[in-house]
Symmetry: C2
Subunit: 326 residues, 2 copies
């Protein structure tokens, strides 16, 4: 199947790399809003086009992976390109998913394409785990923890603080909270009890460190509800020790069964990821395979990970899967 | 939806109990090969029928849960009752799944019913996790560990040893192996390195304990490839400390991404279950819901957990799922 990439940032490069790990896929085109000449793909022979030429590529791409940001890019791009291609995105603004779904569904149905939004690990694999957990243990509690990992949004917020030259923020689950959930204690946890935030900050020369610390720790929404630790480091240290984009997290479902609800059960799903964008890309390509199959079956409109049977994700046949994985 | 149960053992009672936790389900009939008078359901008003009366119940049951054993019951029962009902079973002889699938598929297609085999947690949820893992990390390794939990087959094997009055066997993953897998080391593990076996044995009066210990530890297939610990205890201690049926386990997928495969990822799914049959029953009912929906869509034939989109398992609507769980 022929994969196209729209947007060549961290996620786009992750998709390019992941295509090489899937024998049934090839990367046929990268589309960009920048000057195509400015982009040098890591893969020999892959052509780079301006988004203005998208229509010419209609028959060259089975699934277009849209690698824009959720704030402003995807709400416009995914419905727009669903007019020309089967499209998949990683839209992750949870509160706006219903609206985004409706827009993409309308565009895809009108043009006779299929689409899948909000793919990756959260939303994505974590969503699937929340659904399986609640379906198989109807009386129970859900817990999602994120980290240890780099939060792009919180890192951006740090960098906007006066006197800050550069910085990176890690979200870290509180071990005591994990232990309580894992023990089936069904704790009620406040925001502060679930995660801590650790910041590595490069100050500008002569900056007021105490003021920076105060400004970060009291920042509404981002930090004020958390216990935050701040480390001041040099640009060299930031580059050396914090240039990766690791992430991960945990989804728990804890519940009871039995005539007297006497038996407890704990389901735990966790991810430890060296590269958030590369893992997200890998999940996206598995769902792109599913999407291509749905398109060939004649299905149209927008889907989510909830609508995709697991078998559609694998290159193996149904017989092979039953014989070797069931 | 109307649930029927065929076979009122541990699994059948688990299904009965789980029906009470699903508001959209009711238990309408228990079918048994024994004298129906000998069975007293825990639920008021539920009628017990002889299997000979199955045909009369054709229109009273949306999905029949077949709660027999995999060795001899299910290979006969599931195809047989697929002629009359939509059926679901927990067939767990991995090597014979393709043959069982073919038999059930044929019967269900001929009669216009739907069926789902090999449902529970392994095969079942663990199978789904193996499939998701291999699809999203195509270059990687799979690991499945079982326990800590009671193995019925190994407990039966102990009880057949000369001089043994009663006994129970726990399968336990080796912590060092779990740690290595979790650290992304991709170890190659022998049978002995993955699990240990712990036996609690009630000897007959005057039995030769050394001989019992030797007979168990050298038993081919069951124990000879494992490090086995044996504790001799009294019948009272067995009853007091080992009457539960806990189980669980771990499914890992570890893999790499990146242009130079430089980034590692670890996916871990684990279950800690106080009651193996009750959790299995809970999974079965979620898939029974899916099966009933497929039947209403007019689908026929045999399915596996691989063929069921997650959304089919939940009582919530697609809109609710997208708004609250994605």
């Amino acid at each position: 199947m022929k994969i196209g990439i729209l947007g060549y940032g961290n996620l786009g490069r992750g998709v390019e790399s992941a295509v090489r790990q899937n024998d049934d896929m090839e990367l046929t085109a990268i589309l960009t809003r920048r000057d195509p000449e400015s982009i040098k793909p890591a893969t020999d022979g892959v052509k780079v086009y301006s988004v203005d030429d998208a229509e010419k590529l209609k028959d060259e791409i089975d699934v277009l992976v849209i690698c824009g940001g959720s704030a402003t890019d995807l709400p416009k791009q995914t419905p727009e390109y669903a007019k020309l291609f089967n499209v998949i995105d990683s839209f992750d603004t949870h509160a706006r998913i219903p609206e985004h779904f409706a827009n993409v569904d309308k565009a895809a149905k009108e043009s006779g394409h299929t689409a899948l939004i909000s793919c990756g690990w959260d939303p994505g694999m974590f969503s699937v785990m929340r659904l399986y957990g609640s379906a198989v243990l109807p009386e129970g509690e859900d817990y999602t923890f994120w980290g240890k990992g780099v939060s792009q949004g919180h890192s951006d917020a740090i960098r906007r603080v006066k006197g800050v030259k550069n910085g990176k923020q890690y979200t870290i689950p509180v071990q005591e909270a994990l232990d309580k959930v894992r023990a089936g204690e069904n704790p009620t946890l406040t925001t502060r009890q679930k995660h801590v935030r650790e910041c590595f900050v490069v100050p500008e020369d002569g900056a007021d460190l105490a003021q920076i610390e105060k400004d970060i720790k009291t920042m509404p929404n981002y930090f004020d509800e958390y216990d935050t630790t701040i480390h001041f480091i040099t640009e060299e240290e930031l580059e050396r020790d914090h240039s990766g984009i690791p992430h991960g997290g945990f989804v728990f479902r804890t519940g009871v069964t039995g005539l007297n609800k006497e038996n407890k059960h704990v389901i735990e799903y966790s991810l430890k990821l060296d590269s958030n964008p590369e893992f997200t890309s890998s999940v996206i390509l598995a769902y792109a395979r599913a999407l291509n199959r749905l398109a060939k079956e004649g299905q149209t409109g927008c889907k989510s990970v909830f609508d995709i049977a697991p078998a559609y994700l694998s290159p193996l046949s149904a017989e092979e899967l039953r014989a070797h994985m069931l």
